[in-house]
């Protein structure tokens, strides 16, 4: 039977390298994927993943075993992603610019690029917190409580972020499907 994350992190806090390796094997992929989804860049995602586990190793003795190890690890990754987004904000982040200055919303931007973009791009166009919420919550085996704890917000706040994000994504998908159907219909008529 495999150890729980909490058991492994307790061992890591006492210098357990095998336990650390197991934690890495278990969470490196999802954390890298999460970071990639947030940062949109493989190099940054790998850096965040490395730094996350570096901190897990060095800060494990300070972890409170009453909490959930998984949430604690993802909290570290979340904070590192936020730091990177803040560092690059003056130059990049199309989604935030659009929200702050009232220029085209994600749906309008997407509709211009409908032919070459998909749901993946739609996620990238979501506002930062919605993007983080949906990226985190939809990781394998991540529950609402764990995702909220990892983001440092209440479950209610997470619910609100997820609802808005999913609604927006569904609208975009319907838009795309509608576009595809219209094109198909036009093609048949011609």
């Amino acid at each position: 039977m495999s150890e729980s994350d909490n058991e492994l992190l307790c061992l890591v806090a006492n210098g357990g390298q095998t336990a650390f390796d197991r934690l890495v094997a278990r969470h490196q992929g999802p954390i890298s994927a999460f970071a990639y989804r947030i940062l949109g860049n493989m190099t940054d995602a790998e850096d965040v993943s490395q730094e996350t586990f570096g901190r897990v190793w060095s800060h494990a003795p300070r972890w409170n075993p009453d909490g959930k190890a998984k949430s604690w690890i993802y909290r570290i990754a979340h904070n590192l992603c936020i730091d990177r987004l803040r560092a690059r904000r003056p130059t990049v982040d199309i989604a935030d610019q659009e929200i702050e200055d009232g220029s085209p919303n994600p749906e309008q931007v997407l509709s211009r690029k409908r032919s070459e973009t998909g749901l993946r791009d739609a996620v990238a166009l979501l506002p930062e917190r919605q993007r983080i919420a949906i990226s985190l919550f939809h990781l394998k085996d991540m529950t609402a409580d764990e995702a909220a704890e990892a983001m440092g917000i209440s479950v209610d706040a997470l619910e609100s972020l997820l609802r808005r994000a999913r609604k927006k994504l569904k609208e975009i998908m319907q838009h795309q499907e509608g576009g595809a159907i219209s094109k198909a219909a036009i093609g048949e008529r011609q």
Binding site: N14, G15, G16, Q17, F20, V24, Q28, G29, S32, A33, F34, Y36, R37, M42, A45, E46, S49, Q50, E51, F53, G54, V56, W57, S58, H59, P61, L119, R120, V123, I134, S135, F137, H138, L139, K140, M142, T143, A144, D145, A148, V155, L158, E159, S160, L162, R163, R166, K167, L169, K170, M173
Partner: protein, 146 residues
């Protein structure tokens, strides 16, 4: 008696999708009870599950890129004594170098005791002792009766 309304169930499905095991812990019992009473709500979950699958397919990393395994994150700082010893001797049990050290010490001691015959009762030996003490103290100790 069910404490969750159908509208609230739909709201939760809107936000958290079709997998009840991912919903907030505090909502799950009432949601499951309501689902037992109103099986038609399974359709709501199924609909949301389709969307979940589409999103979750995106959450993985792109197929053509492999992540670099984490190898170099273990720094010496903040590591327990056992962890540090393991880093210094990564080839097996830490008893191995310790046992080797003890064996070498014992062999040296036995060799020294067996084969060394110092002329401790000669004048030369006494002079040697004086020289050693003088050098160590940096003083003339010839007046001291050894």
């Amino acid at each position: 008696m069910t404490t969750m309304s159908e509208a609230r169930f739909r709201e939760l499905a809107d936000a958290f999708g079709g997998d009840l095991s991912k919903w907030p812990e505090r909502e799950r019992p009432a949601a499951m009870q309501l689902l037992g009473e109103a099986p038609r709500l399974n359709a709501v979950l199924s609909e949301e599950s389709v969307f979940d699958i589409e999103i979750e397919a995106l959450m993985g990393a792109p197929d053509n890129i492999e992540f670099t395994p984490v190898f170099d994150v273990r720094a010496p700082s903040g590591i327990s004594a056992q962890g540090l010893l393991s880093m210094l001797w990564p080839f097996g049990g830490i008893w191995q170098p310790a046992a080797g050290l003890v064996a070498a010490s014992a062999a040296g001691f036995i060799f020294g005791m067996t084969f060394t015959d110092l002329p401790s009762d000669t004048v030369t030996a006494k002079n040697d002792q004086i020289t050693i003490v003088e050098r160590a103290l940096g003083a003339d100790v010839t007046e001291i009766d050894l």
